[in-house]
């Protein structure tokens, strides 16, 4: 039990470090006006399995930064590979749960276009999955 706890702590530190690295990379991608690349980077390696809220929040801040930088939603979705759809949908629902007006507006805008593209199955997968949460 103690060993498991120790492993978990180790893991958490590693996850946080990784998210910090991601954050720096995203900032530089945004400066180069590559919002889609930034979003992909943000979504990649999201800490889905861990139950630790600190990791999830840290990653959400990074994803949020990337989501808010998207101007051309159609263009973004056209260049985003379908394997990212499910995870993006999960973050959109996290965004809608914040209740923050600009965040919700942006998330709804993307949600509309993403649903057209990925279908209702994508929504079902985000809502039904209670194991891999964001």
């Amino acid at each position: 039990m103690a060993a498991e706890g120790f492993l978990e702590v180790e893991n958490l530190e590693a996850i946080i470090t990784r998210i910090e690295q991601k954050s720096r990379k995203i900032e530089s991608l945004l400066k180069q006006s590559k919002p889609v690349e930034a979003l992909k980077t943000a979504l990649e390696g999201s800490p889905l399995k861990t139950r630790d809220e600190r990791c999830k929040s840290a990653n959400w801040i990074v994803v949020h930064r990337a989501i808010m930088a998207i101007k051309d939603v159609d263009g973004m979705l056209a260049s985003l590979d379908p394997e990212y759809y499910d995870i993006l949908m999960k973050y959109l629902y996290r965004g809608l749960a914040t209740g923050d007006r600009p965040t919700c507006d942006q998330c709804l805008r993307i949600h509309e276009k993403l649903t057209e593209r990925a279908g209702l199955g994508c929504i079902l997968r985000s809502l039904a999955d209670t194991v891999n949460t964001v």
Binding site: D86, L108, A118, G119, L120, C122, R125, A128, T130, N132
Partner: protein, 376 residues
């Protein structure tokens, strides 16, 4: 390749089954009765009403060789109906359940049937000649939630189940004195009753509609997250494939051949899945061709109105005029399809005709005349 016959039997149909010669259909119109209809001249005539259950009937199966109907109900009981002269005579089967029975299926040899229940158990029932009754043996403490589906392997021994705990399991149902030792089921003969052979932990949410392919090599089941799972070689070295699709989840599936499967469910329209030469499964198309004209509508679902309103609000000051109201989808079914049954002619290995029923109370017969068309 579409619906060849559509008939509205009731407000809603919970389940249906066909007589051995496929001239009669037994269905439950969402109450405690089973109605048996026969197609005479040009219309469906109600021949019998089987009235014995106290609550909604959740499962019906009609055995092909012995011409017996088994029914299970939310009243926790099961009856085996036998035709004597022109009457259907029920025999009560004591299932020993404390929750509703949810599904039932005759084994391929028709000497056993399996019942899935809300009591987290599976009952395997067999006939005892000396006492003249059906005995129920329970598989207990294996499921963590309701058993939503049961499916018999062609070897008459293995039974697959799906459950709302998200898992699909395979059990041995070998019963001494009922199943011969050398029934050709290979290694599964040495297994005791109720022994778990496999547990497939692929879905994170409710699992439904488990089926074996005609040979028993492939197992398929659906998750409530718009995914379908295909597992090869469950007994020896299982290998799983997961197919995510873009529309609403499936409730039931049916293998029409080793390499093709029809899925039905919340999307009203049967979906065709097929495996290519390398054995890779994928979604092919919707069966109901009318869907293609409908899919041009904005979201193609009954949720479109709600979504439209949501989006409308997010655009500050924009009028809601652009929101499309939801409209009927124009397919054969107008609500969730809960049941798919093959119409198999004797000796056929592939299914060319099958029927579906659902919450809209319609029974639809589909014909697959040309497999090549399907794959295009």
């Amino acid at each position: 390749m579409a619906a060849v016959a559509v008939h509205q039997f009731a407000q809603s149909i919970t389940c249906h089954a066909w007589s051995p010669d496929q001239t009669m259909v037994a269905l439950c119109p969402n109450n405690n009765e089973v109605h048996i209809y026969k197609f005479i001249k040009d219309r469906w005539e109600k021949l019998h009403v089987l009235y014995k259950h106290d609550q909604i009937i959740s499962g019906i199966d009609w055995s092909i060789r012995s011409n017996k109907i088994v029914t299970v109900s939310h009243d926790r009981n099961s009856y085996v109906w036998n035709q004597e002269a022109s009457e259907w005579v029920p025999t009560l089967v004591i299932l020993r359940l404390n929750r509703a029975a949810l599904c039932v299926q005759w084994s391929p040899k028709e000497n056993k049937f399996a019942v899935g229940s809300g009591a987290k158990t599976v009952c395997v029932c067999y006939y005892e000649q000396e006492n003249n009754w059906w005995v129920s043996k329970l598989i207990r403490k294996k499921h963590n939630s309701s058993v939503t589906g049961v499916a018999w392997h062609p070897n008459n021994i293995l039974l697959a189940t799906t459950s709302t705990d998200g898992k699909c399991r395979v059990f041995s149902t070998f019963i001494k004195g009922v199943d011969p030792r050398d029934s050709g089921a290979g290694s599964s003969n040495e297994l005791k009753f109720g022994e778990q052979i496999a547990q497939l932990d692929l879905s994170f949410t409710w699992a439904f509609g488990v089926k074996w392919s005609p040979s028993g090599n492939t197992l398929a089941y659906a998750g409530h997250n718009s995914m379908i799972y295909f597992i090869e070689d469950v007994e020896s070295s299982p290998s799983a494939q997961t197919v995510a699709f873009r529309d609403l989840p499936l409730r039931d599936v049916l293998f029409v051949s080793e390499r093709m499967l029809i899925g039905v469910g919340f999307d009203y329209n049967p979906m065709v899945f097929a495996a290519d030469e390398t054995g890779l499964w994928s979604f092919v198309k919707f069966l109901d061709e009318k869907k293609t004209t409908q899919s041009s509508s904005k979201y193609g679902s009954q949720f479109s109105e709600a979504f439209g309103k949501l989006y409308g609000q997010s655009k500050q000051g924009a009028s809601n005029d652009t929101v499309e109201p939801s409209r009927p989808r124009g397919g054969a079914h107008e609500n969730c399809i809960t049941c798919i049954v093959p119409l198999r002619k004797g000796g056929e290995t592939v299914v060319k005709r099958f029927s579906t029923s659902g919450l809209d109370g319609k029974l639809v017969i589909w014909e697959l005349d040309n497999y090549i068309d399907l794959l295009q």
